[in-house]
C-alpha cells in the first residue's frame, strides 16, 4: 500500500475543509497539507446554500442580540461558550471572505448589504443574491489555489481513521480513479465532510451528503452528538426537494394555506404582518422548526393543498415584483421555472417541508477537537454545538468559516505539542485491515440484498419514524428496522468487481455510513423523551429542562445499536426561557 506522508490531513473540501486548508497554509507555509475529498472541491454541497451567512456588522446590531437569537432559536440546547466564540469571530470571517473577492451583494454606498432571516431580530445576513454558498465555496476554492502547500487529493474516498492508543495518526482512502487504497500518515486529521441528509428520501441535500465523515469518526469511537435533531426546511419544491431559500421570505414572500390564510399566525407566530413588509422574528420570519411544524398541523387539519406531489402550502412572492426577484432571488426564479414550470413573478409556488440539515454530528468541544486526540471536526458533520435543537438559517455558512479556521488552529497546536510517536507496526496493520475490508466487500461473490433496496427501506423507515413529529412507538419501530437493515447490509454483494471508478462500491460504503447515522438518529430520538426544537414528540409534547437540558451522545457498536450517554449543556448567560415569535416587542 502506498503511504502518503503529510502533517495535517483534511477530509472534505467544502466550505469548512477549504477554510481549514487556507488557515493552515497561511499559518506555516512549510506545513504539508493533504486536502482529501470524494469530489472536486467545487462540487461540495456548500455550493447549494442560497440565503446567506450571518454576522454582526451593522451599527444597529450587537453580539448579544445575535447570541440571544441563536440560543433561543436552538431551544437552549446550544453550548453557549461556543456560541459566544462563534458570534465574536463571525464578522471577521465574513470580512475576510470579502477580502478574498466574494461577490457579496452591496448597498448603494458600497458597503455589504444584509437581509432579514428567520429567527433573527436584526437584519444581519450577508448574501450574494441567492447563491451565497456557491460564491463562498468558489471564493474559497479559488483562493486555495494560491497556496502550493495545499496538496489536493480530489476524488479520494476516506475509508478509515488510523488510530492507536487513543490518538489519530491518519487515515486510509480509496483513490477512486484507480481503485487503489492509500495510507495517509498525518499528525492530525480534520473531518469536514458534511451532513447526512441523504438518509431521507425527500431532501435538499445532494447525492454526496451521506454522512461519511460522521460515520468515520463514529466507527473510530468518537460519539455522535444530538443526532435526533434533523432540520426540515419549510420551503422545498414538492417534486424534487429543491430548496427555495429562506431569503424568499426574508425579502417579503408569504406562506398561505389552501384557503389563502397566512396560517403561521395560528401557531404562535402572529399577529399577521402587512404583506410585503416583513417584520423580523415573526410570521414568515419565524424559525424553521416552527414553520415546518405549522405545516404538519395544517396538513392534519386538511388545510393544505393536495397536489400530484403530495400536500403543499403556497409561497407567494408575486408582490415583490419582477425587478426585485431578478435582483435578489434570480436562482429561485430559475429553479421554480425550470423544475416546476412556475414563475414566482406570476404564480403561487407550492412548497412543502424538506429535510435540510443535521444539527447533530461529531462531538467536538469549542476548539473543534473531538475526544480522540489528533482528530478535529468542523462544519455540518460536527456538533460544537452552536445550533442546539434548531439551527437558524444563515448561521451554518458562517459556522463553516469560524470552525473551519478554529479546527485548523487547533490541529496546528496539536502537532506542535503532542508527540507523534505511533506504533508503526500497529498503524500499518490497521491500514492493512482497512484495505482487506474493502477488498472483501468488492470480491464477495454472492449476496441476497441490494444497495438500492436497503437504501429505500432506510429512507422509508426514517420518514415514518423520525419525521417532523415523532412518537416513542414510531421511533422504536425505526430503531428495530435500522438494526435489521444493518444486519442485512452484510448480505449485499457488488455486481461491479472492477477498480476504476467503481461507483457501486462507493454507494455501498455510503449506504453503510448512512445506516450508522440513521441508527444514531433513531436511537437518540427514541431516548429523548421531550419535545425541543426540531425534535417533536407527540407523546412528550413539552420541553423537559430537568431531564433533557443535555446533549445526547451515541457511541458506536459494530453490531448492536449505539450506547447512549448524556452531557450537560454549557450555559454561560442565558437560562432556558420561552421562545417568543409573536412579534410583540418587549
Amino acid at each position: 500500500m502506498d503511504i502518503i506522508q503529510t502533517d495535517i490531513a483534511i477530509i472534505g473540501a467544502g466550505g469548512a475543509g477549504l477554510r481549514a486548508a487556507i488557515t493552515l497554509a497561511e499559518a506555516n507555509q512549510k506545513l504539508r497539507i493533504a486536502l482529501i475529498s470524494k469530489v472536486y472541491p467545487m462540487r461540495s454541497h456548500t455550493c447549494a446554500a442560497e440565503g446567506g451567512a450571518a454576522g454582526v456588522s451593522k451599527s444597529d446590531d450587537s453580539l448579544d442580540c445575535h447570541f440571544e437569537d441563536t440560543v433561543g432559536g436552538g431551544d437552549w440546547l446550544c453550548d453557549q461558550d461556543a456560541v459566544e466564540y462563534f458570534i465574536k469571530e463571525a464578522p471577521r470571517e465574513l470580512i475576510q471572505l470579502e477580502h478574498w473577492g466574494c461577490p457579496w451583494s452591496r448597498e448603494q454606498d458600497g458597503s455589504v448589504a444584509v437581509r432579514p432571516f428567520g429567527g433573527m431580530k436584526i437584519k444581519r445576513t450577508w448574501f450574494a443574491a441567492d447563491k451565497s454558498g456557491f460564491h463562498i465555496l468558489h471564493t474559497l476554492f479559488q483562493t486555495s489555489l494560491k497556496y502550493p502547500s495545499i496538496q489536493r487529493f480530489d476524488e479520494y474516498y476516506a475509508l478509515d481513521l488510523i488510530e492507536d492508543d487513543g490518538r489519530c495518526y491518519g487515515l486510509t482512502a480509496l483513490e477512486i480513479c484507480s481503485g487503489q487504497i492509500k495510507h495517509f500518515e498525518a499528525g492530525a486529521v480534520i473531518i469536514a465532510a458534511g451532513g447526512a441528509g441523504r438518509m431521507f428520501q425527500f431532501t435538499t441535500n445532494g447525492a454526496i451528503k451521506t454522512g461519511d465523515g460522521m460515520s468515520l469518526a463514529y466507527r473510530a469511537g468518537v460519539p455522535l452528538k444530538d443526532m435526533e435533531f434533523i432540520q426540515y426546511h419549510p420551503t422545498g419544491l414538492p417534486n424534487t426537494g429543491i430548496l427555495l431559500t429562506e431569503g424568499c421570505r426574508g425579502e417579503g414572500g408569504i406562506l398561505i394555506n389552501k384557503d389563502g390564510r397566512r396560517y403561521l399566525q395560528d401557531y404562535g407566530m402572529g399577529p399577521e404582518t402587512p404583506v410585503g413588509k416583513p417584520a423580523l422574528k415573526t410570521m414568515e420570519l419565524g424559525p424553521r422548526d416552527r414553520l415546518s411544524q405549522a405545516f404538519w398541523h395544517e396538513q392534519q387539519k386538511g388545510n393544505t393543498l393536495s397536489t400530484q406531489w403530495g400536500d403543499c402550502v403556497l409561497l407567494d412572492m408575486r408582490h415583490l415584483g419582477e425587478k426585485k426577484i431578478n435582483e435578489r432571488l434570480p436562482f429561485v426564479r430559475d429553479l421554480s421555472i425550470s423544475y416546476l414550470g412556475m414563475d414566482p413573478v406570476k404564480d403561487l409556488i407550492p412548497i412543502r417541508p424538506v429535510v435540510h440539515y443535521c444539527m447533530g454530528g461529531i462531538h467536538t468541544d469549542i476548539n473543534a477537537a473531538t475526544p480522540l486526540l489528533g482528530l478535529f471536526a468542523a462544519g455540518e458533520c460536527a456538533c460544537v454545538s452552536i445550533n442546539g435543537a434548531n439551527r437558524l438559517g444563515s448561521n451554518s455558512l458562517t459556522e463553516l468559516l469560524v470552525f473551519g479556521r478554529r479546527a485548523a488552529m487547533s490541529a496546528i497546536a496539536c502537532i506542535q505539542s503532542i508527540p507523534r510517536l505511533g506504533n508503526k507496526a500497529a498503524l500499518t496493520a490497521k491500514a492493512e485491515d482497512s484495505q482487506s475490508r474493502i477488498l472483501a466487500l468488492v470480491h464477495k461473490s454472492r449476496g441476497s440484498e441490494t444497495i438500492s433496496g436497503i437504501r429505500k427501506e432506510m429512507m422509508q423507515t426514517l420518514e415514518e419514524g423520525a419525521g417532523i413529529y415523532r412518537t416513542g412507538e414510531s421511533l422504536s419501530k425505526t430503531c428495530e428496522k435500522i438494526a435489521e437493515l444493518r444486519h442485512r447490509y452484510t448480505s449485499i454483494a457488488l455486481n461491479d468487481k472492477t477498480k476504476v471508478f467503481n461507483t457501486e462500491l462507493l454507494q455501498a460504503l455510503e449506504l453503510s455510513s448512512m445506516l450508522n447515522c440513521a441508527e444514531a438518529v433513531a436511537v437518540c430520538g427514541r431516548d429523548r423523551k421531550e419535545s425541543r426544537g426540531a425534535h417533536q414528540r407527540l407523546d412528550f409534547t413539552a420541553r423537559d429542562d430537568t431531564n433533557f437540558l443535555k446533549h445526547t451522545l451515541a457511541y458506536y457498536h459494530p453490531k448492536d445499536p449505539p450506547r447512549i450517554e448524556y452531557l450537560d449543556v454549557v450555559i454561560t448567560k442565558s437560562r432556558p426561557g420561552v421562545r417568543d415569535y409573536s412579534g410583540v416587542r418587549k
Partner: protein, 247 residues
C-alpha cells in the same frame, strides 16, 4: 403523471475490460417531469449497478453531471425528458478523455483554471479591522456575471478550438481571469495577462460562440474572451505606438 418508455443509449467504457467504448441501450419508463439524470439513477438502482457517472446536487449548481445528450453538451440534471424523443443518446463530454462510462478526466481543465491566478490580487492591502472594501452595485455588476461559472466544462466540450488545439486555455478559465480583472478590488491584471494573452490563451479563440450557447448559467464566456482580446489589443497599441504613455 404521464409516463413514457424511453430508450436510453449510453456510451459505456471500462478500461479494465474494454478496448473501445460501446453503446448500451436501456429501456426506462420515465415520468415526463424527469430529467435525464433521473433516468440514469433509475438504471443504476434497478437495471445496471455498474453504470458510472458523476452527480450530486440535482439543481444545476454543483457542475458534476455534464455530459453529451444527443450530441449536445448538457447538465443531465437540467435536460428534461419531455424535450426529447423516445431515444436519448448519452455520452461523456467530448474533448475530454474518458475514464470510465460517462466519467471524463478533467485534470487538464483544473490545471488551466489554476494557472490563470483565479483569486483576488488586491490593489491595496486592507487589514481585516478596517472592514470590507467599498464596492458599489455598479462595480459589482461589471464582473458579477463571470462569477456564476460552475466549472461544469460544457463550454470546453462545445468549443471546437479546444478539441483541435488541446493547449488552448479555454473559455471557463479565461472567463474567471476576466472576472478578477474586472473586479474593482483587484490589481492583478498584469499577472494574469502573460498567461491569458499568450498564444495558447485568448488568441486561440476565433469566436465560434458555442461556449456561450451551451453555458447553463449564462456566463457568456465568449463575450469575456472578446473583451480580453480588445483590452489586450489596446495594451499592444499603447505599448508600441505610444511607449511614452505609462500603463
Amino acid at each position: 403523471m404521464s409516463e413514457r418508455q424511453i430508450q436510453i443509449e449510453v456510451l459505456r467504457y471500462n478500461p479494465e475490460t474494454d478496448i473501445e467504448p460501446t453503446i448500451q441501450a436501456y429501456t426506462v419508463s420515465c415520468l415526463n417531469e424527469w430529467v435525464v439524470l433521473d433516468a440514469l439513477n433509475y438504471i443504476k438502482d434497478n437495471l445496471d449497478a455498474t453504470l458510472s457517472y458523476r452527480w450530486s446536487c440535482h439543481m444545476a449548481v454543483c457542475g458534476s453531471c455534464g455530459m453529451m445528450i444527443n450530441g449536445e453538451p448538457k447538465l443531465a440534471c437540467k435536460a428534461f425528458i419531455h424535450e426529447y424523443s423516445d431515444r436519448i443518446r448519452v455520452e461523456p463530454l467530448v474533448h475530454f478523455p474518458i475514464k470510465r462510462d460517462l466519467i471524463t478526466d478533467i485534470e487538464d481543465f483544473i490545471a488551466k483554471f489554476a494557472s490563470v491566478k483565479p483569486y483576488l490580487i488586491p490593489k491595496e492591502k486592507r487589514p481585516i479591522s478596517d472592514g470590507e472594501y467599498q464596492q458599489k452595485p455598479e462595480d459589482l455588476l461589471k464582473f458579477k456575471q463571470y462569477t456564476l461559472c460552475i466549472n461544469c466544462m460544457l463550454c470546453y466540450s462545445a468549443c471546437p478550438k479546444y478539441g483541435l488545439v488541446p493547449e488552448f486555455i479555454g473559455p471557463a478559465a479565461i472567463s474567471i481571469a476576466h472576472r478578477y480583472n474586472q473586479d474593482s478590488r483587484d490589481g492583478g491584471r498584469h499577472h494574469r495577462q502573460e498567461i491569458i494573452a499568450s498564444s495558447e490563451g485568448v488568441w486561440e479563440c476565433s469566436f465560434v460562440g458555442a461556449c456561450s450557447e451551451v453555458c447553463p448559467k449564462h456566463v457568456d464566456p465568449a463575450g469575456a474572451l472578446q473583451q480580453v482580446k480588445l483590452a489586450s489589443t489596446i495594451d499592444w497599441y499603447r505599448e508600441h505606438l505610444m511607449p511614452w504613455v505609462k500603463k
